[in-house]
Every structure is written in structure tokens, then in C-alpha cells.
């Protein structure tokens, strides 16, 4: 019995020694760092934060929902409140700055720096216009700032 207890104590001491070195082995590599030097533009894999939300509200002034457009050119006018359209593309995102993406019947037709645009050669018939205010990196805000309008083209 005494022999067994002494053996367990010995194994326990060994175990303590091993555990201590285990802790050191996990902690030390984490503290040692990558050892890399270089400019700030050198290799890094930045973690992407969750998509930002926006303070903006977007609405379609024309073509208004249910409007009839005569001719094959559709003039698009948008109203943006609480934010502004900017030119630069960057992943330094601000909730009140971004770009405009315009889709007609599900297809991207324009990506705009402004709040007005023209879509040419639109076929006669019903259409769905979608406009979205996206962030400066061209990806959507969360929740998305998107608005749609149904209209008809008659030639």
C-alpha cells in the first residue's frame, strides 16, 4: 500500500512537471510572435468585421412605382437621405458613405457615383427596377438599403 502510494506520488510529481512544461509549451510559442518584420503593407490577413449598418434611406423618385415610361430610355432618379454617395472605393467603411447599384429585372445595369442615371434600350413591357445603397467597398450594408419600383415601358 505504502509502495503504491509512493508510486502514485512519484507519478503525480512527474505529472506536475509535465503539466508545467505543457503550459509553458503552449504559452511560449504564443508569446514568441511571428518574428516577421516589414512595412505595414506587408503580409497580414485582417479579420473582416461584420457588415456595418447604415444611417441611409433610399427611395426611387422616378420611375415611380406603377409609372408608365414612354420610349426605350428610362431616366432613373433616386433620393438618398442620411448618407452621401462618394467616389472612392475603400474598405474603410462609414455608415453614411457608399455607392449606388442599379438593377433592372435582376440584372446589374449600372453602378453609380450619383443619384441619377439613364438606362437605354429598355424593351416594352413591365419591368422591376432595384436600387441599392452599398458600402464603399461595394458590398451591402446590414441590413441592406435597397428599394424597388415596378414600371412599364411603352414605345
Amino acid at each position: 500500500m505504502r509502495t503504491r502510494r509512493h508510486f502514485r506520488v512519484s507519478v503525480s510529481r512527474c505529472g506536475t512537471f509535465v503539466v508545467a512544461t505543457l503550459v509553458a509549451s503552449v504559452a511560449l510559442p504564443a508569446c514568441s510572435g511571428s518574428g516577421q518584420s516589414g512595412s505595414s503593407s506587408a503580409m497580414s490577413s485582417p479579420k473582416r468585421a461584420a457588415r456595418p449598418s447604415s444611417t441611409a434611406t433610399l427611395s426611387i423618385v422616378s420611375p415611380a412605382n406603377g409609372a408608365v415610361v414612354h420610349g426605350s430610355t428610362v431616366r432613373v432618379r433616386l433620393r438618398l437621405e442620411g448618407a452621401r454617395v462618394v467616389r472612392p472605393t475603400t474598405n474603410d467603411l462609414r455608415p453614411d458613405e457608399g455607392h449606388i447599384h442599379i438593377l433592372l429585372d435582376g440584372s446589374l445595369v449600372s453602378m453609380n457615383y450619383g443619384l441619377s442615371d439613364e438606362i437605354h434600350d429598355v424593351a416594352s413591357g413591365p419591368h422591376l427596377l432595384q436600387a441599392e445603397f452599398v458600402a464603399s467597398d461595394h458590398a451591402p450594408f446590414d441590413p441592406r438599403v435597397v428599394v424597388v419600383s415596378s414600371f412599364e415601358v411603352r414605345r
Binding site: S40, S41, S45, R51, M111, R144
Partner: protein
């Protein structure tokens, strides 16, 4: 179940969990600074003098010990500026104006991670294609085979450290020997110190610098710390031999364990994507080997001096301890081996690479060692209770174990000097072992064709074609074969043709630079037989070096794929809305500061579930942002983005996305 049993169960569960994490999450290790990509690329033809040479390695090179030279066709040095190292990239400005001709870049890199040296060279042309005979024009990388001196030095180091680690615990607490022989401890410390000296000498000799230069470099820093740990252990060993203070023996063992930890940090383990886990596994591996094999040596030395009635118990205690240590060796050994060969799907590298073969041999010797240990445990240990005959038998097997253990240490010394199989297989030029393969059949399904393209990258490739009867699988007796190449998104580039020649083995082969663009290619194989000709169409995408892609998903948002490159640039892409029907793919390039990176060209390629790729018509929004419309069906799609920045850098990204039917979404 007893407490000991429950504790053992918990250890087994934890170990299994650690193994699962390592297997499932750990990408391949990349020790040794192998050349990953360069600008100019090997065999590239430039119109004018490049502003600089850029070489990106799999490991950060030590700026003090690495070098790059530019040679003209005559072998004379061409003027270049001072080398700048940032992360894994060496940049060298070209200060001379290069006239038309072939130039060779020759480089040597010493990894800051493991201190190992690699070297290579490649050629590029100015004003014309590089000549294949220009001084070492292949994009080759050499990693010097470990010298005999280095292997012996490592053997002394590992053997000495193992004896010291085991010596702190085995004689006193496991065997409970009356006295731990001081001469053994001092000899082991001397061996470890001698091993360190020999190791530093071998490393500096391979690199070709003075020891002081090597030890003062970043690559040499781990060796300095190793030397400190070995010196502390040796000093404590001498002090213990003089004073016999038990605490000093603990210091000997702890310092030896610290030396093992430093070796683990400064080796291949620290080059993995989960370095903390791999370093921990490597350290535990070394420690457990020390307890196991070092303990075998101590048992061999002391078993005869243990009193008759205590001997069986002592041997049994050691056997139990060795069993636990052996379990740790096996678990951590599997973790490390899988990391070094590139994961469980790459077990073929165990026989296809120098590293893998050496590892397999080491595992085989270790298996014999384990078998001998089991023989001792279950046959000889019970017999020691019966008298001297059992002890003699035990000793004979222990001697055999010690000899095999010495062999394991020697193989370990060799193994730590070889580049891991995963690193070799991933660096450019090493894809010679894994050709790009395209297969197809003709419209009438009379023949099947298989084209192997080696290395399968933009530039010069070797093409091997096999054409067989569609039904019987017999080789088709062709009279003539040619392979046509048409880049799918460069309609302004005239398709090219390569005439193939019949090889002795019956395949048709050729060599050329028809894959000269970073684009998806349509291959047109024309097979002429006695009865007519047959055409087989296939598509391939040459291999490129791409960055690391992270994926961001959120409810109600398109999945955003961001590919980051070593130089800090990135491409962000997403598919919207990501369900069957009309979608848009957006791709935006950013520089290292997060601002838009202007592109000079971009190709957006969509590969649907049936595998026939489509080059999309990009819509340019701004210099670095492009989008395209695409009609999708439900299934798994692959999207490839091939862009070239205005700086000339190639940015390639791809992602795979499952597109659901519209009605399947909530």
C-alpha cells in the same frame, strides 16, 4: 473504475480531441523557405527592364543570410540595388538597363523559422523568350541534403537531452535506485553540449558564413537560446555531481526540457498554420521520447543494481511509465506527421518524397521498438521475479531497444534537415510530381483522351497525351496528333498549336509555352488515324499561386470571400443574391492600405455544376471594381477571378458556392 483509470480515460479523450483538431483544422506545414512566386515569373518574357525583382517564399527569409543575384547570358553579374525583405518577400531593385536577352535570377534563402537554407534559380527574357540553356533557366529549388556532421550532431544532442530529462525522474522516482550515477549525467550533458556545438558548425557551414555571423542573425537566434539551455543543464549537471543536491538534478532535467522546447519552436512545427498546437505536439513528442528512450537507457544501466525483490516492481513501474510516454509519442507523432506531409489526404507522400520515406522508415523502426517494449513488459518483466535468467533476458531486449533507439535518433537528425513533403509539393516547380490533368472524349464517343500538363502553370509545360478507344480502352494507333490552345477570355490572342511526337511508351508528348496567359484555356486535341481524324475538346485552368481566402457569412447578406495576398493586397468578391436565377458577381481589388487597387485586366469565370466554364462579360465600375451578370441553376458553382493590377501583380482568387433553388430559401 479507479481514479487512475478515470484519469487515463480523460487523457485519452483529450489526446483524441487534440488529434481531431490537428487533423481537421491544420493546413500543411511550410518549413524551409521555398520559392512560392516571383516577378518576373520563371520563363516570362518582358518588353523592358523590370523595375525590380520580387521573390516571395513559403517562409520569411533571414535578410542577413539570404541573397539574390541577377546574371546576364554570359554569367556576369548585372547591377541590382540593395535587397529589401518584408515578411516573406525579397525585393531587389534593378539598377541597370537590360538589353534584349536572357537573364538568370539566382537566389539563396535561409529561413528565419527553422534556419534551413534553400537555393534556386530561374530565367526570364527581355525582348525575347528566355533560352532554355541560359544558366540554370529552370525554376528549380534546391534544399541541401543534411550533412553527416549535422546528423551526428543532432544525434548527440537528442540522445544527451533524452538522458538528462529521463535522468531527473526515472532513477529516483520510477526505479528508486539508491544512487543516480553522476558520470552518466555528466556524460549526457557533455554529449548534448557537443551536439549543440556540432549543430551550429554544420548550420553555419551549410550557409557559408562565420559562426558569429550565423548566431547573430535572426535564423541563428534559436540556436543561441538552445545553447543557453544546454549550458544551464550541463552546468547544473556538474554542480550536482559535486554537491549531490537533488534540486540540481531537477534543474538538469528542466533545462534539458527547455532545450527540447526551444528545438520545437525553432523547427518545422512553428511553420504550420496552427503553430501553437504543432509546437506543443512537437515538444510533448520530444519530452515523451526522452522519458521513454532515455528511461530505457537508465533502466539498462541500473536494473542490475536494484535489489532482487524490488527489481520486478521497479521494472513494472518503468514499464507503466514508458507505456504512457509511448502513448504520447504515438499521438503527437501522428499529429506532426500529418502536418508535415500536408494532411490525411496526402498519405501518398509518405512514399513519394524524401521526407515521407525517411518518416516511414523512422515509424517502422519505432514500431519494432514498441514491439520489443511489449515483449519486455508482458514476458520478461514477469520473469524477473523468477531470478537472474529473467533479468538477463530483460537486459538483452533492453540492449536491442537501445540500439534501435539510436537508429531512431539518427533518422530524426536526418528528418529535421529535410524540407517537409507538404512544403515541397506546394512550392512552384514541385508540381512536376502532380501534373494538371484534362480528360475528354470526342462527340461521337469513339475515343477518350487524357492530357497531362506538367507543371501545369503559366509558362513552359510538358504535355503528355494518351488516346484510347472509348469502349475497349486500347490505345488508338494515331499517325499524327496536335494540341491547340485558345485562351477563353482573350479573343484577341491567336490560338496556338503544338505538334506532338510519339514517345517510346506510346504516349504523345510535346513541350512548349502555349499556356502563356493566366486564363482558362480550351484545348483542341486533333488525332489523325488511318481512317480519318477525330477532335477532342477539353478545358483547363493553369495553376496559380493564390492567397489565403477568408469567408464571411451573415443572415440576409451575400457570402463575402476575401483573398489576401502576401504583399497586403486583396480581392473581395461575392455573388448576389446567391440563388438560382440571375445573379451578379462582384470583385473589388484593394491595396495594402485598404484603398482601391487599379486593375489593368480582369477575367471573371463561372464554372457551373456540369463543369463547362463560362467567361463572363465584366462591367467596370471603377478602376478596381468589376461585376458581371450570370444566370445560375441550383448546384455547386466555382467562380474564378483572374486579375492583373496596374503594378503588374497577378491577383487570382476563386471560391465555391452552393446555389439553392429559390423555393428552398425561407
Amino acid at each position: 473504475m479507479s481514479r487512475t483509470g478515470r484519469g487515463l480515460c480523460r487523457c485519452v479523450v483529450l489526446a483524441a480531441f487534440a488529434v481531431a483538431i490537428a487533423v481537421l483544422l491544420a493546413p500543411p506545414a511550410f518549413a524551409h523557405a521555398l520559392l512560392e512566386r516571383s516577378t518576373p515569373a520563371p520563363n516570362e518574357t518582358l518588353e523592358t527592364t523590370p523595375a525590380s525583382l520580387t521573390l516571395t517564399f513559403t517562409e520569411p527569409p533571414d535578410p542577413a543570410l539570404s541573397s539574390v543575384r541577377l546574371l546576364g547570358a554570359s554569367g556576369a553579374d548585372v547591377g541590382i540595388g540593395p535587397m529589401h525583405v518584408a515578411g516573406r518577400t525579397i525585393t531587389v531593385p534593378v539598377t541597370s538597363r537590360l538589353t534584349d536577352g536572357t537573364y538568370t535570377v539566382t537566389w539563396r534563402a535561409v529561413s528565419r523559422t527553422d534556419g534551413h537554407v534553400t537555393a534556386g534559380s530561374f530565367a526570364f527574357g527581355v525582348g525575347r523568350a528566355p533560352s532554355p540553356t541560359a544558366g540554370g533557366a529552370g525554376a528549380g529549388t534546391e534544399s541541401p541534403f543534411p550533412s553527416a556532421a549535422a546528423i551526428i550532431a543532432k544525434w548527440l544532442l537528442y540522445a544527451g537531452l533524452s538522458l538528462l530529462v529521463a535522468g531527473a525522474v526515472v532513477p529516483a522516482y520510477i526505479l528508486r535506485s539508491a544512487k543516480t550515477p553522476a558520470w552518466v549525467v555528466v556524460t549526457a550533458a557533455t554529449a548534448a553540449a557537443g551536439g549543440w556545438i556540432g549543430l551550429v558548425g554544420a548550420e553555419r557551414s551549410t550557409i557559408g558564413v562565420a559562426a558569429s555571423v550565423f548566431l547573430s542573425s535572426e535564423a541563428g537566434r534559436p540556436f543561441v537560446w538552445l545553447g543557453v539551455a544546454v549550458a544551464v543543464s550541463a552546468g547544473a549537471a556538474v554542480a550536482w555531481a559535486v554537491t549531490a543536491k537533488p534540486s540540481l538534478l531537477w534543474t538538469v532535467g528542466a533545462a534539458a526540457a527547455a532545450a527540447m522546447l526551444i528545438r520545437a519552436i525553432g523547427g518545422h512545427a512553428d511553420a504550420g498554420s496552427l503553430p501553437a498546437l504543432q509546437v506543443a505536439a512537437q515538444f510533448i513528442h520530444l519530452l515523451a521520447v526522452g522519458v521513454w528512450i532515455g528511461g530505457i537507457a537508465w533502466l539498462l544501466l541500473l536494473v542490475g543494481g536494484i535489489g532482487g525483490t524490488s527489481r520486478p516492481e521497479a521494472v513494472r513501474r518503468f514499464s507503466t511509465t514508458a507505456g504512457v510516454a509511448l502513448g504520447a509519442v504515438v499521438v503527437t507523432g501522428v499529429i506532426r506527421a500529418l502536418d508535415e506531409i500536408g494532411g490525411p489526404s496526402r498519405v501518398g507522400r509518405l512514399v513519394s518524397s524524401d521526407y515521407g520515406l525517411t518518416l516511414s522508415l523512422k515509424a517502422g523502426v519505432a514500431a519494432v521498438l514498441i514491439a520489443l517494449g511489449a515483449w519486455n513488459r508482458y514476458v520478461n518483466v514477469p520473469r524477473t521475479a523468477n531470478g537472474q535468467e529473467g533479468t538477463r533476458s530483460l537486459r538483452r531486449v533492453l540492449v536491442a531497444e537501445a540500439v534501435l533507439a539510436a537508429g531512431v535518433f539518427a533518422l530524426t537528425g536526418l528528418l529535421t534537415g529535410l524540407p517537409p513533403a507538404a512544403a515541397v509539393a506546394t512550392a512552384p516547380g514541385s508540381h512536376m510530381h502532380e501534373p494538371l490533368v484534362a480528360t475528354g472524349s470526342d462527340f461521337a464517343t469513339t475515343v477518350r483522351a487524357r492530357v497531362e500538363i506538367t507543371p501545369g502553370m503559366v509558362g513552359t509545360n510538358r504535355f503528355a497525351v494518351r488516346v484510347v478507344d472509348y469502349d475497349t480502352g486500347e490505345r488508338v494507333p494515331a499517325r499524327r496528333m496536335s494540341l491547340g490552345f485558345a485562351p477563353l477570355s482573350h479573343a484577341d490572342v491567336t490560338p496556338s498549336t503544338l505538334e506532338l511526337r510519339r514517345a517510346p511508351d506510346g504516349d504523345w508528348t510535346g513541350r512548349g509555352s502555349q499556356i502563356s496567359l493566366d486564363d482558362r484555356y480550351q484545348l483542341l486535341l486533333v488525332v489523325q488515324t488511318a481512317s480519318g481524324s477525330t477532335q477532342v475538346r477539353m478545358e483547363i485552368s493553369p495553376r496559380v499561386s493564390s492567397g489565403h481566402t477568408s469567408v464571411a457569412r451573415a443572415e440576409g447578406q451575400p457570402t463575402v470571400y476575401t483573398t489576401n495576398y502576401p504583399d497586403g493586397t486583396s480581392i473581395q468578391a461575392y455573388l448576389d443574391p446567391g440563388r438560382a436565377g440571375t445573379n451578379q458577381i462582384h470583385a473589388t481589388a484593394f491595396d495594402g492600405q485598404g484603398d482601391e487597387l487599379p486593375l489593368q485586366s480582369i477575367s471573371l469565370i463561372a464554372i457551373p455544376p456540369d463543369g463547362r466554364g463560362e467567361v463572363l462579360q465584366p462591367i467596370r465600375f471603377s478602376p478596381g471594381h468589376y461585376a458581371a451578370n450570370i444566370d445560375t441553376i441550383a448546384g455547386t458553382w466555382t467562380f474564378e477571378i483572374r486579375a492583373v493590377a496596374k503594378t503588374g501583380a497577378a491577383l487570382d482568387a476563386h471560391f465555391v458556392q452552393r446555389i439553392e433553388r429559390s423555393e428552398e430559401l425561407p
